[in-house]
């Protein structure tokens, strides 16, 4: 894990800090620094999402790459935030618990660690609300 690459997005990952286009009203998470609707006419400002949403679709990951192997099976979902934008995230619950439309809220968790000696990447996952 590249340290600058992780550090640069830290606030976005830790606090669900995305962006908002004041021109058209769209919200973005992951953050965008250009509104795809308004492009250069858009005014982009930072926006911290509340972290409440619902599961739009999901999968139970049974086979993962090495960094996530210990956590399998885990729930991966597209979560639709209250503000209307969607993101991909893990949902901390058993495979039997998750369903389309399940209300969820943000939780602060470890995402990956770069081995035993490298940096730990923290970020936002979701738990049943």
């Amino acid at each position: 894990m590249s340290v600058p690459r992780y550090w640069r997005k830290q606030q976005n990952r830790y606090r669900l800090r995305g962006t908002h286009c004041e021109t058209c009203g769209r919200y973005f998470f992951p953050p965008r620094n250009l509104c795809p609707t308004c492009r250069r006419d858009g005014t982009i400002v930072d926006y911290e999402f509340k972290g409440d949403g619902k599961v739009r679709t999901y999968s139970i990951i049974r086979t993962a790459s090495e960094d996530y192997d210990l956590q399998t099976p885990f729930v991966l979902a597209v979560v639709e935030l209250e503000e209307g934008t969607c993101l991909t995230a893990q949902v901390i619950c058993t495979p039997e618990e998750v369903y389309i439309g399940m209300p969820v809220k943000k939780a602060f968790r470890r995402i990956i660690a770069d081995g035993d000696a490298g940096v730990i990447v923290y970020g936002t996952k979701f738990v049943p609300a």
């Binding site: 690459r5 679709t57 139970i60 993962a64 991966l76 993101l87 991909t88 990956i112």
Partner: protein, 386 residues
């Protein structure tokens, strides 16, 4: 724009090619294509090579020159370029080649694709393929490639009532076709039971819903139609070559279960060729996962949304059906050497239109290919005809 023809095709055997290196795979396919076109390498004006991730799989970048070098094509110092759009890298190479010939910039161009995936362990493969989606906001949170398609499947099954068995039938049908294809990685038939009892990868997808890890290469040679008969008695016309893009992440799509880039590239291709889906006699679609074939059949307009499961169950997508899909065995059974797939699809349609497809021969005059990068962020559709 000039009319363009495919005059030569070459595809290596697909599979775990332990003894063959990345560069030699391509040289093998390229030589087969030149042989097929009865042509000398010196006649080639330019080369495009589709490759997704040689940097991860064999730690090699600068693929264009490397391939040209080992193919013996550096004597004339031709332009040699690698194209990359994840699993659509091959489709991209074909479209680039088509564009330069159609525009008159070049006369003879080789478009190829190659991937050597078995030099690394499964975990590295999973990780490298995750780079086809958004590394930062999908891959980093634990999204695997099967996981992303599995989320499409969850959404699709929830909305359209597709059954687990219908999904399995896609794989069963593709294996039936692949069993008849001498270059296919898995030349064996499987049953619905085999699929729904195979190892769970990412619910609801199981191992036999997923295309395999494959080594392989493919190459085709394009030239203006007016020159084509110098090289072959059976030139195949490129009626359309269209490309479209969409959001890199699945979560930003308008509709999880519709690949809008497929819809756009398909429409563009139909318009360019002046045909409708009804006139397409067979199609090679990008079945990296069974659900992907279901979506593709609908998004390309072969049936209405929600009906591809039924169409598959009714045998309409099998050999002898109303729209045979993936006569090669598709990515599932023929194998999926990522960068080579888009070119192999073209080679299959060319072989079919020439009447050289043997036991899997379909009687048709127009065929189509559909090559997807990522979860639908890039799509290339080509239409070919006799």
């Amino acid at each position: 724009m000039r009319e363009v023809a495919v005059v030569g095709i070459g595809v290596t055997e697909f599979g775990e090619k332990w003894e063959t290196s990345f560069r030699n795979l391509f040289v093998e396919a390229g030589a087969m294509a030149l042989e097929d076109a009865n042509m000398s390498g010196d006649q080639i004006d330019e080369m495009f090579v589709g490759n997704m991730s040689a940097g991860r799989f064999v730690l090699q970048e600068h693929i264009g020159a490397l391939i040209a070098d080992y193919a013996g094509l550096v004597g004339n110092h031709i332009p040699a370029t690698r194209t990359e759009a994840a699993c659509a890298s091959g489709g991209l190479a074909f479209r680039q080649a088509y564009t330069t010939v159609a525009s008159g910039l070049n006369d003879i161009v080789i478009a190829g694709g190659v991937e050597k995936m078995t030099d690394v362990g499964g975990s590295v493969t999973t990780d490298a393929l995750a780079g086809a989606a958004d590394r930062e906001w999908e891959g980093l949170v634990g999204a695997t490639f099967p996981g992303l398609y599995a989320m499409i499947a969850t959404d699709y099954m929830h909305r359209y009532g597709l059954t687990r068995e219908q999904l399995a039938m896609v794989s069963v049908k593709n294996h039936a076709n692949g069993a008849k294809n001498p270059i296919a990685q898995y030349r064996k038939e499987i049953t619905v039971e085999d699929v729904i009892r195979s190892t769970r990868v990412a619910d609801p997808l199981r191992l036999l819903d997923c295309s395999p890890v494959t080594d392989g290469a493919a190459a085709v040679i394009l030239c203006p139609m007016e020159m084509a008969r110098q090289f072959t008695d059976t030139p195949i016309r490129v009626l359309a070559s269209a490309q479209a893009c969409d959001t890199i992440s699945l979560h930003d799509r308008r509709d999880i279960s519709t690949l809008d880039a497929t819809v756009a590239a398909g429409k563009r291709a139909y318009a360019q060729a002046g045909v409708t889906p009804k006139e397409i006699g067979m199609v090679e679609v990008h079945d990296c996962f069974t659900i992907a074939e279901i979506c593709a059949i609908e998004d390309l307009g072969f049936c209405a949304k929600g009906e591809a499961g039924k169409l598959t169950e009714d045998g309409q997508t099998a050999l002898g059906g109303s729209i045979p899909v993936n006569t090669s065995g598709g990515l599932k059974s023929c194998g999926h050497p990522v960068g080579a797939t888009g070119i192999k699809q073209v080679a299959e349609i060319v072989a079919q239109l020439r009447g050289e497809a043997g036991a899997r021969q379909v009687d048709a005059e127009i065929g189509m290919t559909h090559n997807v990068g990522g979860t639908g962020a890039t799509v290339v559709c080509n239409i070919l005809g006799v």
